[in-house]
Each structure stands twice: as C-alpha cells, then as structure tokens.
C-alpha cells in the first residue's frame, strides 16, 4: 500500500506543483523516488512530528497540498493538537499519512502499533479518514481525495501485492463497498485486516454454509452512513473486525449508527480489547493473539450465531 501510495503521489506531483511531501525522518527505501524526482518539494523535517504538521499548516494556507508522512502513531498522536488547531480548525488541505495500520510494525512492539489513530482523529469535525483495505483501493482512494478541500488522514499498511477479493479497487468518500453478499450475517471491516475477513467469510461459506455479507468501510470519515444503515437494516447480526482498540474505531462507528437510527441489529465488535503485555511478534502472530486472524473471526461468527440461536 505504501509503495502504491508513493508511486501514485509521484504521478500527482508530476501534474500538480502544489503537492509537497514532508516526512518525519521515515520512509527509507520508500520515499526516495519522490525525493529524487521532486527535490524542491521534498523535506525530511527530522524527527519532529509536531513541527511537521505546523509546517504543513503554513504551507497549506498558502495554497500548497502538503503530505506529512510517518508511522501512524507518530503521525496522529504526537501532533494531535497541531492537527486540531491547524488543518482542522483552518479547514486546510493537509494530508497526514500514517503507516502501519494496527499491528503491521509487528516486532517493533506497542509504541509502533496504530491502535488509537482512528478513534482519536474521528473526534475531529471535517477531517476525512481513509483506511484502505488493499493497494488497489489505496490508489483509487488517493486519486479521489488528494486535492479535496478537507484535511485527510490516510491509514496505510505495507502490503503492495495482496488484493481484497471482490473489491477491485473501488472507493468513494462517504460510501462503503460490498465485496461479498450473504444473508446470515453482516461483517464490516477496514484496512489490511480485511483480507483475513475475506478468508474467514470464504471458510464459513465453504465449511458451514454460513453466508456473510462483507462490507469494506474505507471511508471512515465522512462515514458512509446511508450504506451502513441500509446494510444494518437487512441483517439481524453484525460483526465489525478491525486492528484498532475496541473503543473509537469502526466498531464504535457502527454502534453509533445503530443507536442513532434506532436499529435492532445485534453487533459484536471484534477488535483489540487488551494491552500487549509487553509481547510483540509478527503481525500475523498479533492478529492470532488478539483473535483477529481468520480462525479468530470464524469462531467469533460461530459464537455470535450460537448466541442468536441461528
């Protein structure tokens, strides 16, 4: 996703001089292509994320479109107040690019896991939040949002090869994408963990004849409210799956939608519910440890169906 993102950003920078890339000293082996092609529009600001967002605010006010690149936690949490008082308060087209959705920085450990970025940033009015499921959706999301007037947060993973079955790179702000149809339950997901959801849904259909409707919610803000309501109204049972702490992320968004619209759907939020206890490991290991891998999703569905008496 990040490789695709930078390649696409280079295309955009080629055709529009307003595009500027700032990095908080991250992006080794990733950002060089931009730096080499657009040296006067590339700034490694050093290990200083607050200043990076402050700079971007000043750049955007003058009519430029600055992208601020760092690991998700450093890009969102450290400069949060700068984001709030800068691009959000001034309605400026600053882009925050947060790498390593959820557990993607695996062995780097908890300081590098983006587990609160969506929750924290979702509190900000007028800030778009885009969490693509795969590299194809990353590309179309960037092509559709790079020059919108609002500030945008991109939550990106590292995988530039795998694709989400049925998604075919579709993306639209304020809309959700259905990638699989099914009547037994609704599964909503976002980000790279979507691929585990696709595997789980396929296994459930194959082995247990449980048919899930799977919806990718890459446009977290603006929320695809109508799409969510339509899908939730048609299903008695819903499951959200995300690599994010349980509060504040996609599961919260769906719960809020259910409450706001008085829907009767029973919701289970599959997310990170406890700390790492000092343990780290590969992203795959962390998914399994927190019950977010294929097997964890399958058993969550089984429990949900059993509890509902299906």
């Amino acid at each position: 996703m990040r490789g695709t993102f930078i390649k696409t950003l280079c295309e955009l920078a080629e055709r529009d001089k307003r595009v500027v890339l700032l990095t908080g000293d991250l992006g080794f082996t990733v950002l060089e292509q931009f730096r080499d092609r657009f040296p006067t529009r590339f700034y490694n600001v050093g290990v200083a994320e607050q200043n990076m967002v402050g700079l971007a605010t000043g750049l955007a006010e003058a009519g430029l479109i600055p992208f601020c690149y760092s690991i998700g936690t450093f890009a969102s949490l450290r400069p949060f107040e700068f984001i709030r008082n800068g691009p959000v308060l001034h309605h400026l087209p600053v882009r925050i690019v947060g790498l390593g959705a959820g557990f993607e920085y695996g062995t780097a450990g908890i300081t590098h896991y983006s587990l609160e970025d969506i929750g924290v940033l979702r509190t900000q009015p007028g800030l778009d939040i885009v969490a693509p499921a795969d590299f194809e959706q990353t590309r179309s999301a960037l092509l559709q949002t790079w020059d919108v007037a609002a500030p945008v947060y991109y939550r990106l993973g590292k995988d530039d090869r795998s694709t989400m079955p049925g998604l075919e790179g579709r993306f639209a702000l304020g809309q959700a994408q259905t990638v699989r149809e099914g009547d037994d339950l609704l599964i909503l997901t976002c980000g790279p963990i979507s691929l585990e959801v696709a595997r789980a849904a396929a296994e459930l259909a194959e082995r247990e004849r449980v048919e899930s409707k799977v919806v990718v919610v890459a446009s977290i803000s603006p929320a695809p409210e109508q799409d969510l309501v339509d899908a939730l109204q048609r299903h008695r049972l819903a499951l959200t799956v995300e690599t994010h702490n349980v509060n504040g992320g996609l599961g919260s968004l769906v719960a809020e939608t259910i409450a706001d619209h008085g829907l009767a759907t029973k919701l289970v939020r599959l997310a990170v519910r406890e700390g790492t206890g000092g343990r780290s490991g590969s992203a795959a290991h962390m998914y399994a440890r927190h019950g977010l891998d294929r097997a964890g999703i399958v058993s969550a569905v089984q429990r949900l169906l059993a509890a509902a008496g299906s």
Partner: protein, 269 residues
Amino acid sequence: MNPSHADYAHSVRTLILQQSRRAYVGHIGSAMAIADIVSLLYDRVLKAQDPDDPDRDRVVLSKGHAALALYCALHLNGYITASDLDTYCGDDSLLGVHPEPELKGVDFATGSLGQGLSVGAGAALAARIQGSKRRVFVVNSDAECNEGSIWEAVMFAGHHKLSNLVSIVDMNAQQAFGYTRDVIDMEPMAEKWRAFGWDVHEVDGHDVDAMEQSVKGLNFKSGPPHVMLARTTFGRGVSYMESEIKWHYLPIDEELYRQALQEIEVLRR
C-alpha cells in the same frame, strides 16, 4: 481612525484599556507588553495587508492570549469596525481572548502556546517554494519557549535558512504563575537562538523607531532566519500593572481604568 506614527502605539494602548474595561476581562498586561511590537508590524513593517492578497506578509500571533492588541491594530487599519471591536469577549463574538481565522485579518488561530513558530516556518517555506517575496512575522514570548515544539521549529528554520522568517520574542520576563527566571530560566536566550543558526537581534521592545530600523536592516533574501529578542515590560505604561504577576489574569475596575488611561499619556510622544 488612522493615527500618525507617533500616536499609533498610544491608540493601541488606549483601545486595549477601553476594551478590557468594557468587557471586564484580563490578559491586559500581556497585551500592553506587545502594544509597541504590534504597532511596529501593523503601522510600519507589513507591506501588503489586504487579507485577500495571497502575497501579503503573514503574521502569526503565537502568544495568542494577547490578541486584543492585534484586534486594536486591525481596527486602526480598517479591518475591524468599531462596533465589531466592541463585541470583544461578548457572546457569539468573533473576537475572543484568542484569535481565530474566521475573523478577517487573522491569518492563523493561536492560543495553544508553542504552535505558531512551526506554522510561521511553514508559511515562510511556502513563500520560498512559490517564489514569493512575502515575509512572515511570528510574535512569540519568552515563556512560550518552554514548549519543546518551539525548538523543533527553531531547528528547522535555522537548518533551511528561512531568511523570510522573523520571530519577535516578547521578553516580558513573566508568565501566568511566576517570573520566567523562577519558573524555567530561559536565559541566555540570545545564545540559544544563535546556537541554532539564527540571526539574533536584541532590541528594546518599546522603542518602535529602533525596532523599525532593525527590521529594515534584515536580509530577507538569503541567510538565516531572524529573531528579535524584544525586552518589554509586562503591563507597560500602567504603574500598578508593570511586572506584577496578577495582571496576567485580573480585569480592571473603573478607578484603575481611569488611572491607567492617565498614566499611558506619559508614553505619548
């Protein structure tokens, strides 16, 4: 209103006292400390001021709690009407204690200390990228330099030699809950900024003529960014307010207001 150069700072001070009295709010001492700095910028230094001109010089009042001084200058320059100024700190007013960009003439919202220099550095970098001659003036304060993010911006601007960036630091020597030397002693300030590659000028923050000469001597085309360490007196011109911590927050009653109006006459040339 259009006062002469000589009367400009006096008008700012008078308006600060009038509005603080009318609204019965504090932060008077901070606003009075920068009345001359604001006069320097809005009466003498800023080239283009039209808020709709993309090539206007930019101003960031990073010590946002002194926004009343800024509002008074914007009023004197015709961007805020007298009746709008009279809404200061009223319900539903665009003129709160801290400035917001919805108010014409305010380039950037401030109020959370330590953010304005980064924004100003970004504005200066933008001018360089866009090939514009506009300059950026940031008004910081000595205590604001407690914020680590100030030094992130200082490092960046120094490294990239943002010669079109000027920080004017209001060195009023006190902060909300004490004197800066007792809270976090920031001295020697000049050496700190110099160490990060800035062009340092130590000036009397109440001598507008001298500050104007300093600004005229700055090289905005190349070389390091500039900092003017402006020694000021908190509550400048009002005897009971000068260098008194409590006037960071206290409002003034009618008697003190009359006394203050009388006392600032002395500063009028």
